[in-house]
């Protein structure tokens, strides 16, 4: 993963023909124990009493397969609890699939939440370096991007202020620009594109367009269907952990709206 970043020029040619993300028959089952045991004590007591180790299985994802081409922006939509975020977490490597496999070609930057790993007791500058390090960058690489990050966040003046004294708006601006300036090959985005005030949001949209143009692959999970229509070439509709439809964005969004409408009528 790291070597790809460092020797990009060498690898670019053969890789550009490969899909950026391949998801093959991924299944994820969550175990929901009837009685959750968190401690050794509870386990021992459970054993003495004869124990209740039964659990229900919740199939969050069932046999999901798709692939995303290099440079494509791919939308994932569906009702709450359909497995969108779980899928993104599996692609990010946070969760392991119970069956199937995920292949990614290039450096993956998950945006599951803004400001992951930020520490309130460190200054803005230190946090930028911390985040870069979390993304696996070296000090030098982060240093090269630092000015750009602070400029984009419009927070240069506050670089040595501790993060706990930041307003929430400043916090998200810093978090957003830090994560977006890391030039990943693949971005996994979970509902975090709309942050800050109107002016900053416009800047963000421009930045996203620029990133798309640069050939970054984006996987976008969102309930904002207009954004999905606007940004995504292809989309996938998930329902109950299964692929309900996969294809051109406008058709998939229409299908989703039809599905929601139908459910509404049934009620």
């Amino acid at each position: 993963m790291i070597s790809l970043r460092k020797n990009k020029s060498e690898y670019l040619a053969p890789i550009s023909e490969q899909p950026a993300v391949v998801v093959e028959n991924v299944t994820k089952v969550f175990r929901i124990p009837h009685e959750r045991k968190y401690t050794v004590y509870q386990h021992l007591i459970g054993l003495l009493r004869g124990g209740d180790y039964t659990y229900e299985q919740f199939h969050a994802l069932q046999d999901i397969s798709f692939s995303v081409k290099r440079g494509e922006t791919f939308g994932i939509i569906g009702p709450n609890g359909c497995g969108k975020s779980t899928l993104l977490k599996i692609i990010a490597g946070v969760l392991y699939p119970d069956a199937g496999a995920v292949k990614t070609n290039g450096r993956v930057a998950p945006f599951l939440e803004l400001g992951v790993g930020f520490q309130p007791d460190l200054t803005a500058k230190e946090n930028v370096f911390l985040y870069g390090a979390i993304m696996g960058l070296t000090r030098k690489e982060i240093g090269e991007r630092y000015e750009e990050i602070m400029e984009f966040a419009e927070l240069k003046r506050f670089e040595s202020m501790k993060l706990k004294n930041f307003s929430s708006g400043m916090y998200v601006r810093l978090a957003f620009s830090t994560s977006i300036q890391n030039n990943p090959d693949i971005m996994l985005v979970d509902e975090v594109l709309s942050v800050g005030d109107e002016a900053f949001q416009r800047k963000c949209s421009e930045k996203i367009a620029e990133i798309q143009k640069k050939g970054t692959t984006i996987l976008l999970v969102s309930h904002a269907l207009d954004t999905v229509r606007q940004l995504c070439n292809r989309s996938m509709l998930l329902s109950g952990g299964k692929v309900a439809m996969l294809g051109e964005t406008s058709q998939v969004v229409d299908e989703y709206l039809r599905m929601v409408g139908q459910q509404h009528e049934l009620r």
Binding site: Y96, L130, G132, A133, I134, G136
Partner: protein, 253 residues
């Protein structure tokens, strides 16, 4: 190798850990030295007057033992909550999770080195000179680091699933403190128990430190073998347990 790829993150996490520990000040480190010193004074008072232990240089004997033990106690306890304590780095983003355990253990390791340096200066000040054997100390330190890191992997991974492990580990550490030769000389151990007593790798570890610092003695081969084997076993077991349990960290945390 993840250690190399994420060296910057390991570096930053270790330093920020130390900062929190020492509240950004030199004085903070002085405070942390107070703990072993006070403990030594209390134990010294109790054992030299009440129990009449006449080990030579008993004060330094105690201090070496306490500082030698502290890395195991502090390092393993801190490593246990390394994963749970930084849960957002586990559930929201992917990094090799060993990074969290390693950086926590490293920050304790740095404290240990600093304490050890202060101890050596104290010894010099009181006219106890150590010979060239002291060059062996870095090697022993590396083995000790491996031991604590391996143990930390096991504890850190198990703690995600068993949240009362810290209570249990506290008790085990207490027992460990008394079954290692920290506050009494090994000569007090009855001959019948001696072979079992020597199986404790911390016995060998503390003996090695004392030998080098206080008695100008090279570590014996059995003592070195004991700690190296212990470190190798803990590292291997640690990475196996960690690998197995890591898969569901993000769900269980």
């Amino acid at each position: 190798m993840w250690i190399y790829d994420y060296r910057e993150l390991i570096h930053i996490l270790t330093i920020s850990d130390l900062r929190v520990k020492y509240q950004n000040s030199i004085l903070g480190f002085a405070w942390s030295l107070l703990n072993p010193l006070l403990m030594m004074l209390v134990l010294y008072a109790v054992f030299s007057s009440v129990f009449q232990i006449t080990q030579k240089q008993f004060a330094f004997y105690l201090l070496t033992g306490i500082i030698g033990w502290r890395f195991l106690a502090n390092g393993s306890t801190a490593a246990m909550s390394a994963i749970v304590g930084k849960s957002s780095l586990v559930t929201k983003i992917y990094i090799p999770r060993q990074v969290l355990v390693l950086s926590t253990v490293l920050s304790c390791f740095i404290c240990f080195i600093l304490e050890f340096i202060v101890l050596s200066l104290l010894l010099l000040l009181f006219g106890i000179n150590f010979s060239m054997d002291a060059v062996l100390i870095p090697a022993v330190f590396i083995v000790y680091l491996g031991m604590v890191y391996g143990l930390g992997l096991i504890l850190g991974a198990l703690y995600v699933y068993y949240r009362d492990l810290n209570q249990i580990w506290d008790v085990i550490l207490q027992i460990g403190f008394f079954v290692s030769p920290i506050i009494y000389p090994i000569s007090r151990i009855p001959a019948a128990y001696y072979p079992y007593y020597m199986l404790n790798p911390m016995t060998a570890m503390i003996q090695i430190f004392r030998g080098i610092l206080l008695d100008n003695q090279l570590p014996t081969v059995p003592a070195m073998a004991t700690i190296i084997v212990a470190a190798a076993v803990l590292l291997k077991a640690g990475s196996m347990v960690f690998k197995r349990l890591e898969r569901r960290f993000a769900e269980e945390i």
